[in-house]
């Protein structure tokens, strides 16, 4: 997993937060969004699109573009830029469209 990043933190004062991306430990800072932590860690692409398979990653950083989708704690297609990072959070990068969810037992 890359560690060099073109992004530089302006504020290094936040308390360290440890989470993981695809099973690899990543260091973030309190107050980071998942997208910010990914970019700081040099992970520019969080998924491959369902349409063309091209890589996509955080772009607008404000919840509008939906390019930063990742799986967070088992939930696919979460907006990384709108989700604060939390200790122990498990993030997975996605390939293509999300799988079908199982219908919940009481949905019918």
């Amino acid at each position: 997993m890359p560690r060099d990043s073109g992004f530089r933190r302006l504020d290094e004062t936040g308390a360290p937060v440890a989470f993981e991306i695809d099973g690899v430990a990543v260091a973030a800072r309190e107050g980071d969004t998942v997208a910010a932590a990914m970019l700081a860690a040099g992970i520019l692409a969080g998924r491959q699109t369902p349409v063309s398979g091209a890589p996509r990653g955080p772009f607008c950083m404000m919840g509008a573009c939906f390019d930063c989708l990742v799986e967070i704690d088992g939930e696919p297609n979460c907006q990384a830029c709108m989700t604060p990072v939390a200790p122990g959070m498990r993030v997975r990068r996605m390939r293509g469209a999300r799988p079908l969810p199982e219908a919940t037992a009481d949905a019918g």
């Binding site: 939906f66 799988p99 079908l100 969810p101 199982e102 949905a107």
Partner: protein
């Protein structure tokens, strides 16, 4: 051609194919645009109750759709993602199923028995689409139905129109169409004026105002439909439903609401919630699929819900087109209607076109 939506562009491209010179006036971004909010169905089942010729016209277009898709893709380089695997209607109660079957049986009788559809019990429906939920009691499968990507269709029509030498005038809100010296004068907001030998009104709801200027009638009103779109998921729904379809890229579209909201093409929480709840009853797995977008759009509805095609007797050379099925009817509009409109190849058009005249509303009003 007044109107650059699916209707105007399909007919406009068709007129170019007949060798006509065509100029399309498109109102601009403030226009009410049904073509941008369309659900994308090529839908035959259930249409034409009370007017069997509308059912015939719809089926003709569905049959011509593969030719349209092929010619349009070749002419534009844009594929409209045509798929015609048949369509399904799901029923949540026996009463609803009985009413649905009775409606199609009535159509089949009116059409002399030539109207293919099949009632499927719950298990047979689930054999086709295993994700159908336990509340569904049955389904109708109709092999005539299908779907496309309506935005690619619109783009394909615009591209083919431009490549064939058509002229598109953007931002042209037509204020008046006036008969003048055997032709017509088109006056646009801002003062520009144009001359045309013939004029076709395909301005959707705008036709109501324009049609009387050339001796025609278009008593159309807006009927709002709201559409929900989910995140992209792996394909599970091979067949389109009237109320739910999965698009080629994986998103699930949910729709088929009907309300009178005037010219407000927005959305409302109540209707969106209703659409979502109903879709979850059809497909329980959708409960855990995220919605990412919603919009409203205005159907163009005539008093009986059937289309209007009429050539003006008072002002020869003027005609009017209104329908709420710009996708379904696109093939008939591009490949059949232009000959009827120009009287050049009227022999190619079905013999029943006169029934679509708005005269039927005038007779009802006075009778």
């Amino acid at each position: 051609m007044i109107g650059g939506g699916l209707v105007g562009m399909a007919v406009g491209w068709g007129l170019l194919r007949l060798g006509r010179q065509v100029t399309v006036f498109d109102e601009g971004d403030r226009a009410i645009r049904a073509s941008r909010g369309n659900f994308g169905l090529i839908w035959v089942q259930g249409k034409g109750a009370g007017m069997p010729d509308y059912a015939r016209w719809t089926r003709l277009s569905a049959r011509l759709w593969p030719s349209l898709a092929e010619e349009l893709s070749a002419a534009s380089g844009v594929r409209p993602e045509l798929s015609q695997p048949g369509g399904m209607t799901l029923f949540l109660s026996e009463a609803e199923a009985a009413a649905g079957v009775a409606k199609l049986e009535g159509l089949r009788d009116a059409l002399g028995g030539d109207y293919p559809f099949e009632y499927l019990g719950a298990n047979a429906a689930r054999a086709l689409v295993p994700e159908i939920g336990p509340e569904v009691v049955g389904a109708i499968h109709c092999p005539m139905d299908g779907h496309v990507n309506p935005l690619y269709l619109l783009r394909a029509l615009h591209t083919a129109f431009a490549r064939a030498g058509g002229r598109l005038v953007n931002g042209a809100a037509v204020e008046a169409v006036e008969p003048l010296g055997g032709g017509f004068r088109i006056r646009c907001a801002g003062g520009s004026e144009w001359r045309a030998g013939q004029v076709v009104l395909a301005a959707g709801l705008g036709n109501a105002r324009l049609a009387p200027m050339v001796g025609l009638d278009a008593p159309v009103r807006p009927e709002r439909g709201q559409v929900l779109v989910t995140e992209k998921v792996r394909p599970f729904l091979r067949l389109p439903l009237a109320r739910v379809r999965q698009v080629g890229e994986g998103a699930v579209q949910i729709g088929d609401s009907r309300e009178d909201a005037g010219f407000d093409d927005g959305t409302s929480t109540e209707v969106m919630a209703h659409l979502a709840r109903r879709a979850i009853r059809y497909f329980p797995l959708l409960e855990r699929v995220r919605l990412v977008r919603a919009w409203g759009a205005l159907r163009v509805m005539s008093p009986d819900g059937n289309p209007i095609y009429e050539r003006s007797r008072e002002c020869p050379g003027a005609s009017v087109i209104n329908c709420h099925s710009g996708v379904t009817l696109a093939a008939a509009h591009a490949l059949v209607l232009p000959g009827w409109l120009t009287l050049e190849r009227g022999g190619d058009a079905p013999g029943y076109m006169e029934v679509f005249g708005a005269e039927r509303f005038r007779l009802q009003a006075t009778g």
